[in-house]
Symmetry: C2
Subunit: 233 residues, 2 copies
């Protein structure tokens, strides 16, 4: 569980002995808000404001924003501010193309062992998703997706792959979470299917299967995005 090469990883360990610095806390919180659509594209991330919220000075906030700038989700311009950006349709396509390639590698590149915790979490998420199918709630949908992503990322043994998996997740999340608001029933149904398949693979102890399940459902998600959002290049 080395911390190396795992910047964008929220490090939400079971026991969190406060070993992450203030900058990392702020960084992860900003990322979470972006992919949870709490700060949708167009929102200004004012350093002074965030500084007041976290009871720190502008310095750590500035550092946090600077660290996540490489994801392309935030653009900072001098004299103007840091604004949350929606990735261009072409960028989204490239991110998804990358995720389609990375997914099958989850099971082939030294995956980590499946534990009962993983199975339990998957069951819980499935229950939550079933509730979602009846009455859709965008916030809960995003949260379930997020925790499912964390579950799968936890099975990735290769540090580089795990870091890339998180990076592309954050880049893609904002866009297709926005889609969830539009067509709740469809994505809820898809999420239930995905969780059922993942649960089956977990019970079989087959991490490779999970990788391919991801590959399949990322493809479905991308098709939905292409259909409903992406119009221009």
């Amino acid at each position: 569980m080395a911390a190396c090469c795992a910047n964008t990883e929220p490090a939400e360990r079971v026991i969190m002995p406060d070993d992450q610095s203030i900058v990392e806390i702020i960084q992860n919180e900003i990322l979470r808000r972006i992919c949870f659509l709490e700060t949708p594209p167009g929102t200004q991330l004012k350093e002074a404001e965030l500084a007041g919220e976290f009871n720190v000075s502008r310095t750590p906030v500035r550092d946090a924003i600077s660290r996540i700038s490489h994801l392309g989700l935030v653009e900072t311009r001098n004299g103007v501010g840091s604004v949350v950006m929606a990735l261009s349709p072409e960028a989204i396509r490239q991110v998804y193309a990358m995720r389609l390639e990375l997914a099958p590698l989850i099971g082939t590149m030294s995956p980590r062992p499946i534990t009962d915790d993983h199975r339990r979490l998957c069951d819980d998420l499935l229950d939550a998703a079933l509730v979602l199918r009846v009455g859709f709630d965008p916030g809960r949908y995003i949260q379930i997706n997020h925790r499912l992503h964390g579950l799968i990322a936890d099975l990735i043994g290769n540090q580089s792959l795990r870091a890339f998996w998180w990076q592309t997740y954050y880049q893609a999340a904002s866009t297709w979470h926005r889609l969830g608001h539009a067509l709740g029933a469809e994505v809820a149904e898809a999420l239930v299917s995905e969780l059922r398949e993942v649960g089956r693979a977990l019970n079989s102890g087959d991490v490779a299967a999970i990788g391919h399940i991801q590959r399949v459902h990322i493809g479905y998600g991308f098709a939905r995005i292409e259909r409903h959002i992406l119009t221009g290049p």
Copy 2:
């Protein structure tokens, strides 16, 4: 040529209209020094010292170091300093495993067109490598390798893949450049072979071939590292 998702990319365009900030300049310079072994593992990166060198305050230097911290090549500890780290043998293995998977994708994920500039550069590099074969010079070896990497990265059309390609390059470079010092003749010979094959592929206009050539030679390089450096886990 969007700047999105391309943090670790040195942006050494033909015309560099000074559009990169001071932080980015310092960031790229630090990374260059690390992978050129000018600041070998164990070296302390003192903020005040670098600040004096670039005629700025500690703030931008601090930001630059913070931005590259996610690569695992620098570890900053409070009260101690920022020290250049050698990746653990296991981390190196994982980075190489990742590069072996990424390489074939260069040709399949919307590669960019080959131009005469690419062919000319490859010829120049081959000439330089031939000279190297007679009298080996670690510094020149590293530089040729670096420019070859830049050439290949320039053929990658997918922004995510290009960013990952750069990230894993920096992570791997320091280690196998260290190896170059030890066995000059062998790596020089390998570099000549690689450049000849890349040149042939460029003349055929076959970017996919270049991806597979990379895959092959990364495998060779990794085997050399396993043989000569990696001993512990």
